[in-house]
């Protein structure tokens, strides 16, 4: 085999896993961090920021977009990408809940 048995897990577990999978590559972490340094959303120069070829960057952007971590809107010839605040707030609150639960533990 090799395919993950996602049918046996809850929807929430699968959703969380796919969010983390989207962030599980250094290039995609770098993209997020670059988007954070840019003031506006007009940012079609992500390709120049990364040590990867244009098709590869395009593929990484697609994965981040499919996971809902970034949003992209067409701006003439260029495309304007920015971080999806809602998703990142969800992720933060997930870890916030985990850490709250951990406070009542022994370990």
């Amino acid at each position: 085999m090799g395919a993950s048995k996602s049918d046996f897990f809850t929807d929430k577990q699968n959703e969380l896993a796919s969010l983390f999978k989207a962030l599980s590559h250094p290039a995609r972490v770098a993209i997020i961090e670059y988007l954070l340094t840019v003031d506006t959303c007009i940012c079609g120069d992500i390709v120049n920021e990364l040590p990867l070829a244009q098709p590869t960057v395009s593929q990484h952007l697609k994965e981040l977009k499919n996971a809902g971590i970034i949003k992209g809107s067409i701006e003439g010839t260029a495309i304007c990408y920015c971080i999806n605040e809602t998703t990142l707030k969800k992720i933060e609150s997930y870890f916030s809940i985990i850490n709250t639960k951990l406070k009542n533990k022994c370990c």
Copy 2:
């Protein structure tokens, strides 16, 4: 190719990516969530909680341990796993910083 070009990214970006990679499988999310429901750290029954064979669960536990997300200590014949609070706090603070930065954005 197929190997990710981790040499071209910063250590922090690679570290974060490997933390997220550890969480990028629903079984491993399920393991974390199960560990949260258990009061003590004595928990050698993760295998019975998951719809996966013992070697597969063992492999997932190893990945979580290697990434520093869980800790495991030998407890006689069994092994006692628990969540590594330090790592999870780090992840929460990473997203907390991101969300703070996002507040000063247009989008």
